[in-house]
Subunit: 138 residues, 2 copies
């Protein structure tokens, strides 16, 4: 997953949305660092944009499937990798990492049958201690 401006332009064109400097700016900010930034963190990376614009843009990106909003305690973090994966979350420092793996199809079938829901996408968060926090005292 790279910061490919063409990917953004293409997605905007395909949906008939104008390319604006603000959208390019937020897109760039999403990739200055690997991670799962909040709207506030992205705003800190583009202080020249109003916070409302950051929110508007993220909502658009979400609708286009370019970004996935992760509702965590109190804040929403944005995952710039829309491919399905597991989020590993540190219960001590809150850091988030990705692991590329999915629940097995048999699990999906079972859950769908048991619940009667017509399933689309899973979201799997696994809580634990990140490598750094493992070495610290409780």
């Amino acid at each position: 997953m790279v910061n490919d401006v063409e990917r953004l332009r293409e997605a905007l064109r395909a949906s008939g949305r104008p390319v604006t400097p603000q959208r390019l700016r937020v897109w760039e900010a999403l990739y200055v660092e690997r991670g799962h930034p909040t709207a506030a963190e992205l705003h800190a990376r583009c202080p020249e944009l109003p916070l409302a614009t950051v929110y508007n843009t993220l909502e658009l990106f979400t609708g286009l499937g370019l970004v996935i909003p992760l509702a965590l305690e109190g804040v929403v973090r944005y995952d710039a990798d829309p491919s399905e994966h597991v989020n590993v979350i540190c219960t001590r420092c809150g850091s988030v990492a990705d692991v590329a793996i999915l629940p097995p199809p048999a699990m999906r079938d079972w859950v769908q049958m048991e619940s009667g829901y017509q399933l689309s996408h899973p979201r799997l968060d696994w809580y634990g201690l990140c490598p750094d926090c493992q070495t610290l005292k409780p």
Copy 2:
């Protein structure tokens, strides 16, 4: 999972916390209906308690492992079933249902190895359409 007042009393005793009428009241409210109520919904079930008390009590219950807070978009819902399971969430109406199943151990091992995190508990939310919403037009 039953509304067993003894279970609450026992957990409070074990942690050296006083048993108060408010705690019994919130406990009772958690079980008047199967579901995943928000703090506001619980408050509606015990209007005689201040909202702050509902929050305080839920925080305590969470600390005691009696309840699991599910941070969803905009609200926290409280799951009164602390045993591990999958939450199935309707993308249309927001309803939540439970399915008793866990990711397979092999998946856990893989995620732990790949991430370097020391994993504790997973949280798996599967989005989809509930039976009611499946029959409605988009």
